[in-house]
Symmetry: C2
Subunit: 105 residues, 2 copies
DNA sequence: AAAGTATATGACTATATGTGAATATTGTCA
DNA sequence: TGACAATATTCACATATAGTCATATACTTT
């Protein structure tokens, strides 16, 4: 894998690599939402949510459209759910690994 | 999605979210490697490679075993390749999106 | 035991990221 | 136009991350 490709891919993974942004993506996977809808998901200021969404937009994961005062956010790439699956896989295999260790030692 | 779950998942994605670590994972997906094998992949010091590998280990993505002087690294979770697929998906849909914009405007 | 090889770690610097508070922008409605 | 609501942006600061160099550790070979 070339460095440029890896960099492009890393940028996307980086955009996902935050608890808050994962929760935003998770919520958006169930339908479009405006910032105010998403606000209660995390205990941070509106400013912070806005910046997290900006990162997701910047990575091409999320798009937005205006609807009057609201800015509606839309999950552009449902393929993101693959990445979420992957994390579950790691967590599972880690749990397995740990239980093996405790059995042996 | 709860914050604790999201945090665990974010930790894994964070471990992947670096060009160098992606290249390491990519190489490991083709077989086990020791640090010296991986060193030429990135133009950083041995120290840096070692730290990157430590992060992958810490996230449960990679495991290691001693073989004499060598520390052999092994990709524990091939499911990681799902996450890599996902990034391709985003890149593709972004390219599509961009070409639509240039056509319309 | 001494020398050598492979890898990890500590101390440090530079840069990036996350955050709240305050402020700016954009759009609506009276 | 003026007041208001939703969202974005800027600033100042704290913390995290990536990198290097020097050094420590683990193991092998002579």
């Amino acid at each position: 894998m070339k460095y440029v490709d890896a960099t492009a891919r890393a940028k996307i993974l980086k955009a996902l690599a935050s608890p808050i942004r994962l929760m935003l993506v998770d919520e958006l996977s169930r339908g479009d939402r405006c910032v105010n809808d998403l606000r209660p998901l995390a205990q941070v200021t509106q400013s912070a949510i806005s910046r997290h969404l900006a990162q997701l937009k910047n990575a091409g994961i999320v798009t937005e459209r205006r609807a009057g005062l609201r800015n509606i956010h839309h999950l552009e790439c449902p393929c993101i759910l693959q990445a979420l699956d992957c994390t579950l896989g790691v967590l599972r295999s880690e749990a397995q690994h740990r239980s093996k260790l405790t059995k042996t030692e």
